[in-house]
Amino acid sequence: MSAMRVDAKVVMLGKESVGKTSLVERYVHHRFLVGPYQNTIGAAFVAKPIQVGEKVITLGIWDTAGSERYEAMSRIYYRGARAAIVCYDLTDSSSFQRARFWVKELQNCEEHCKIYLCGTKNDLIEGDRSLRQIDYHDAQDFAEEIGAQHFETSSKTGNNVDELFQKVAEDYNNTAFQYMTAEETGIDLGQKKDSYFYSCCHNN
């Protein structure tokens, strides 16, 4: 695996411990790690190819840390992103406030980035409905208001996780198909001259 191509930059945003890393783990490695929670330090990057129709699209996923400590750094992670998965924990209303913050931030700074609002830890609610702190319809209304897709997922059971990323890739494919011209999409990470960030700014 020398040169890795990335077609679309996807960023995971949301309060700490809402389950961003678990979502990526489930999607990329098909697993759910139990054991003490390990918060992400800075951010982690992983490239994942995904089949969309006839094509293979590689998502470059940035799993950011939710801690406020890294907030000043967050721009470098979402800049040039084609999609942002903004996560909140269905059992924690304060995490929804934080999701609103990220949505605002994206709307201000990254207008071409499509937003996917994702309520996590669905399995906890299935087990005990009284744990739900964010009403499905409230979140749905908010999503419509901001023109975002809305999902509720569980990384523990895998519920709706593939669907979420599949949707991200399909949406990217459709818009890429619409907007891209002769320029072949994708950035060759093995390439030296053409820096990734340069290309991103170009695309936008």
Binding site: S17, T21, Q38, V46, D63, A65
Partner: protein, 520 residues
């Protein structure tokens, strides 16, 4: 300073250990020179990899200077009195911040319980306004009034133009380190000296700075004196917890040195030169780790890494499984290099389940893909020159047995080459297999270390017998050596063992040390 408490019932001797001179004479024609710095076994051939520091002294010098300026506070009885009065008054009110949930911390513990009180070593960090920032055991909320008392104590004494260094009472030692805008307090039941405790508090201070930078810390507290720093440190407590654990167990932190993965020098040289070739404009340090052992370190010419900074990196990588998920990219301040700014570290394992972790430190926060590219180039070169296989083989035996040295009574040792800042040590033998026994041995080494580095009466060498083991410590301008013998050994035997051991290390040095560090 209290010297007495340090020395339990064991019989020990100090002063000049006769053989020093004899050894020196022998060394002239022995294959183990090394009384001169830079020629000892393990000394690098060209330049050192690390900032040249008089190690331990360098670390504590600052704190001592502060203390020397002021009269020593020797009124511990009075202080304890003061403490009681303050407890009654509860001068500083607790102010909770609801957004911080400490439920997630597994160290929930009733702070009024006997168990909480009986921990060997407590560490507290607070702001100058007395706000709790960190506690090793229990939660900060539950302790805010205790921390308030500590702060009141610090400011009360400061107002009198004194600085509290330590309070001794009831078999307990309380040590204060004021590092504006933070105050660190250690409460210990161990027999470590004040100086050792201060050194540990310094590490904790640097750990916090490495997450935030000192500039940011100052800025925050200038802005808002009673800011709750836990907001920004949320989720990093386990880094500090782990660092404290390492301070009890890791000889590297004690010796201000780093240990290497034993590896044939030919293989290590290939690894180093492959890393050297995978350079980039803003790349400052390339570090390859195997667990807690250094495989190699390549640095930009004229840029040196301090061993404290390297230990902070080790702690970060070793404490978190987060870097196993993909390629990590995180800001990190290396406080001994510069407390003002962040570097950006690309952190990734060479393979998902591998022990080998590569850390590429850049000055540019937009450098992620450049660093990722450096890693690819490094890997390609490594496998092309088939060094990767040799490296993987070496990983299978990351330690060695003390039996290899061929001194039957020798159980364990620590050897540090001063000029390279590297140390070597065999695995723990059977008798020290339990965690408690290992920590006990580390405690003994710490004692010896305190004696060799005593601020006013430092010793060159030190022999000490007890029922469980005999210990010998020896420091020269070139190395520091700590040996642990079975209790049946004699002093004469210990002394002759030193020579034999030095010869062995000399013979093995190109496997145990990094003799030719590279730069780019």
């Amino acid at each position: 300073m209290d010297g007495q408490a340090l020395r339990p019932t064991a019989s020990w001797e100090n002063g000049t250990l006769a053989p020093v001179d004899r050894l020196r004479a022998e060394r002239a024609d022995s294959p183990t020179p090394g009384l001169v710095e830079g020629t000892e076994p393990g000394a690098g051939q060209k330049s050192a990899m690390f900032v040249h520091a008089q190690s331990f002294e360098d670390l504590t010098a600052e704190a001592e200077e502060e203390a020397r300026r002021d009269d020593e506070l020797d009124k511990s009885g009075e202080c304890a009195e003061e403490l009681k009065v303050l407890v009654g008054e509860k001068t500083i009110e607790e102010q909770r911040n609801n957004s911080i949930s400490s439920e997630s911390r597994s160290k929930e513990e009733d702070v009024s319980s006997e168990a909480w009180r009986s921990h060997r070593k407590h560490v507290f960090v607070l702001s100058e306004a007395g706000k709790p920032i960190y506690t090793r055991y229990g939660t900060e909320e539950a302790l805010s009034s205790t921390m308030g008392v500590m702060m009141a104590l610090v400011s009360f004494v400061e107002a009198e133009k004194n600085i509290i260094r330590s309070i001794h009472a009831d078999g307990c030692k309380v040590v204060f380190l004021t590092k504006s805008p933070l105050v660190l307090v250690g409460v210990s039941r161990t027999c470590q000296s004040d100086k050792e405790l201060l050194r540990e508090l310094q590490y904790i201070y640097y750990q916090i700075v490495s997450l935030l930078t000192l500039t940011q810390l100052n800025h925050i507290f200038q802005h808002k004196q009673n800011y709750d720093l836990r907001r920004l440190l949320a989720g990093s407590e386990y880094l500090t917890d782990n660092l404290l654990h390492r301070l009890d167990r890791d000889p590297g932190l004690l010796l201000s040195a780093v240990t290497c993965l034993p590896l044939a020098s030919s293989a290590r040289d290939v690894v180093s030169s492959s890393l050297q070739a995978a350079k980039a404009k803003n790349l400052v340090f390339s570090i390859l780790l195997a667990g807690d052992r250094l495989v190699t370190l390549v640095r930009k010419k004229d840029q040196f890494l301090h061993h404290i900074d390297l230990h902070l990196v080790f702690n970060l990588v070793g404490s978190s499984s987060s870097f196993r998920e993909g390629e990590g990219w995180t800001p990190i301040c290396l406080p001994k290099f510069n407390t003002a700014g962040f570097f950006h570290a690309h952190i990734s394992y060479l393979e998902p389940a591998s022990e080998l972790c590569l850390i590429l430190v850049s000055t540019d926060r937009e450098d992620f893909f450049n660093m990722s590219d450096c890693k690819q180039r490094f890997l390609e070169r490594l496998s092309k020159r088939s060094a990767y296989q040799a490296l993987k083989e070496a990983l299978k035996c990351p330690t060695y047995s003390v039996a290899q040295v061929g001194i039957p009574e020798l159980r364990h040792f620590l050897y540090k080459s001063k000029s390279s800042g590297l140390y070597t040590s065999p695995e723990f033998p059977e008798v020290y297999h339990s965690d408690e026994e290992q920590e006990r041995l580390m405690g003994l080494y710490q004692d010896l270390h305190s004696c060799l580095h005593h601020p006013t009466r430092p010793l060159r060498s030190f022999y000490r017998c007890s029922e469980t083991e005999n210990l010998l410590a020896w420091v020269t301008s070139g190395f520091e050596l700590y040996l642990c013998f079975s209790p049946l050994g004699t002093k004469a035997l210990a002394v002759s063992a030193v020579n034999k051991l030095l010869k062995w290390i000399r013979k093995e040095e190109d496997r145990l040390f990094i003799l030719s560090p590279l730069t780019y």
